[in-house]
Amino acid sequence: MNPMNYVYLSAVLFSIGAAGVLLRRNAIVVFMCVELMLNACNLAFVTFSRMEGNLDGQVIAFFVMVVAAAEVVVGLAIIVTIVRTRRSASVDGANLLKY
């Protein structure tokens, strides 16, 4: 099977994630969409690694996983504090800062 198809798949996943960030209202879901984008990047890295015949892409995928995990720690901490303060995880609720 042509490995380029996996690149197309990663592009589709990335676009779904990017659209989800813009369209969804719940901060947790928005955050999951960002994670989907990062995983789409991983898929692209691994596919290109296979196509190029070197291991760099696979190693990068591990780095990305670690970074994404660190991001989850910080992100969930921020979202949980907001939820406790406002009793809602909606990104529309956080609207004190504007213009």
Binding site: P3, V7, S10, F14, G17, A18, V21, A27, V30, F31, V34, M37, L38, A40, C41, A44, F45, T47, F48, S49, R50, M51, E52, G53, N54, L55, D56, G57, I60, F63, V64, V67, A70, E71, V74, G75, A77, I78, I79, T81, I82, R84, T85, R86, V91, A94, N95, L96, L97, K98, Y99
Partner: protein
């Protein structure tokens, strides 16, 4: 197509040049030591110890940057470049971080400091009242700041895109947290943190997908490898162009350039003010360093493709920043839009790619380096002044509250006027020299229309700075207006450093300009 993976025949031990990496290692070491201090040090001694350790670490790291000057090579198996722009920007970040950390450590202006006693306590809850009554102060901010500074040192020095991505996250994650820890107006602060985090994570995902596509194009994430692939015109051009575009989006977001600027005003307004100053100065320096390296070293061969895009973004950024700043009623938001406008002016200098000075220095690079230094110090000073104008509810940031400030505190009004004059680019301030440098670089690079638009935009920008000056000096103060608090020596020193550098670089810019010229060559 090659389907088999060629495993490395022999394992090569990666080399780590500790001497070349010393600035970053010192800062990260201090950050880790700070975390340990939080665990083992009794609470009453933590603040002073953490502050002393942080400042000592920054000075030591700066000393090691100075010792490395002129000694250019790549370190850590080629993933970190230690060259002129990297060392210049590392030195600048470390020097700006010192007033940044000092202003952050202020505890006299607001009893207990600018940070909430515990970020996890719900605003207004009994738990929070208990913590406030016990006068507990937050000291975890010092390790967080040091981790952010470490990431900022690595960001402009990273020679491959993986290192750059890791550095981007290392500098961003502590900043997301720091934004949400304000003692007053905690809802605003938490909202700023949430917005910064979600948009920051979104943009770093774009950055990463750009890295993935460039890896697919060149088969490596090393910038020199990408440059080779660009010059040999091998590979799939769609991957190259899309990858470069996505990568640039991620970097322009961090820089705060339009149309990726929308987070800037919200985050700058909501974050604790000393953090805003630190972030506005140091993040911008680090992000422009990385942008320069990607555009000049990585895809320098594509300059014909990206120059018009940067042109457009520079014009849009200057326009959005200058025009929207006119309509602001909050001083922190106004300074945020001013920071967007300045990002546009700096992008103008970046367009002068083929401008070469008398001694063979790259004018595009050296003018950007110089502008970043001047803008950073003025910004930290200006935000430190904002922390001093207070009423019962905390900082008085609404512009109407600043009316007649000169009658309450002539010194503070004059100092703030000086910073605003520097932002506006008035002669005898550093802002004038810096604007002159970037505009002449762009002029030499044949971007004349851009320079003319830039000059018009700086005139528009000057208008809203002068509006504040007029308000401070020629309006009657409101009867229940805010007062100007006398700070501890920490904030005073931070403001004094900002003002001194702004004046010195305005009157005697030659030395730093020459240094920026000498530091304008990248290693490849």
């Amino acid at each position: 197509m090659n389907t088999g993976l060629t495993l490395a025949a022999e394992f090569e031990t990666p080399s780590v040049e500790y001497r070349l990496l010393a600035p970053m290692l010192i800062v990260f070491g201090v950050a880790v030591a700070g975390v340990l201090l939080e665990a083992f040090m009794p609470r009453p001694f933590r603040h002073e110890t953490q502050l002393g350790l942080a400042v000592a670490g920054l000075l030591a790291a700066f000393a090691s940057v100075v010792m490395l000057a002129g000694d250019y090579s790549v370190a850590a198996s080629g993933s970190v470049a230690v060259d002129g722009p990297a060392l210049f920007l590392q030195g600048a970040i470390l020097l700006m971080a010192i007033p940044g950390v000092l202003a952050t450590a202020e505890r006299k202006v607001d009893v207990g400091g600018v940070f909430a006693p515990a970020g996890s306590s719900t605003p207004g809850s009994p738990a929070e009242r208990l913590l406030v009554a016990e006068k507990i102060t937050q000291t975890e901010v010092f390790p967080l700041l040091m981790f952010a500074i470490g990431g900022m040192l690595l960001f402009p020095a990273s020679n491959d895109l993986l290192t750059m991505f890791v550095a981007l996250e290392v500098l961003s994650l502590p900043l997301y947290l720091l934004c949400g820890l304000a003692r007053r107006r905690r809802l605003l602060s938490q909202e700023a943190s949430l917005k910064y985090f979600l948009l920051g994570a979104y943009s770093s995902a774009f950055f990463l997908y750009g890295v993935a596509l460039l890896y697919g194009y060149a088969g490596t994430v090393r910038l020199s490898g990408i440059a080779e692939a660009v010059s040999s015109e091998a590979g799939n051009e769609t991957l190259l162009l899309t990858g470069t575009a996505l990568l640039t989006v991620g970097l322009l977001f961090k820089v705060g350039a339009a149309p990726f600027h929308s987070w800037t005003p919200d985050v700058y307004q909501g974050a604790p003010t000393p953090i805003t100053g630190f972030m506005a100065a140091c993040t911008k320096v680090a992000a422009f360093g990385a942008l320069l390296r990607v555009l000049y070293v990585g895809v320098g061969g594509l300059a014909w493709e990206w120059e018009p895009v940067i042109w457009g973004i520079a014009i849009l950024t200057m326009g959005v920043g200058s025009v929207l700043a006119l309509t602001q009623t909050d001083i922190k938001r106004m300074l945020a839009y001013s920071s967007i406008a300045h990002a546009g002016f700096i992008l103008t200098g970046l367009v002068g790619t083929d401008a070469v000075g008398a001694d063979g220095e790259l004018l595009g690079v050296s003018s950007v380096l110089f502008y970043l230094v001047t803008y950073g110090f003025s910004t930290i000073g200006a935000f430190a002044v904002v922390t001093l104008v207070r009423d019962a509810a905390g900082e008085a940031t609404h512009l109407s509250q600043w009316a007649g400030l000169a009658r309450r505190s002539p010194v503070i009004a004059v100092v703030f006027t000086f910073f605003l004059a520097a932002f506006a680019g008035i002669p005898l301030t550093s802002g004038f020299t810096a604007k002159f440098a970037v505009f002449s670089a762009a002029w030499a690079g044949d971007a004349r229309v851009l320079v003319i638009i830039g000059v018009i935009m700086s005139a528009v920008a000057a208008f809203f700075y002068f509006r504040v000056i007029v308000l401070m000096f020629f309006s009657a103060p409101a009867p229940d207006g805010p007062s100007v608090v006398v700070p501890s020596p920490l904030t005073t020193v931070a403001i004094a450093i900002g003002a001194a550098v702004t004046l010195l670089l305005g009157v005697f810019p030659t030395y730093v300009l020459e240094l920026a010229g000498l530091a304008s060559q990248f290693v490849r």
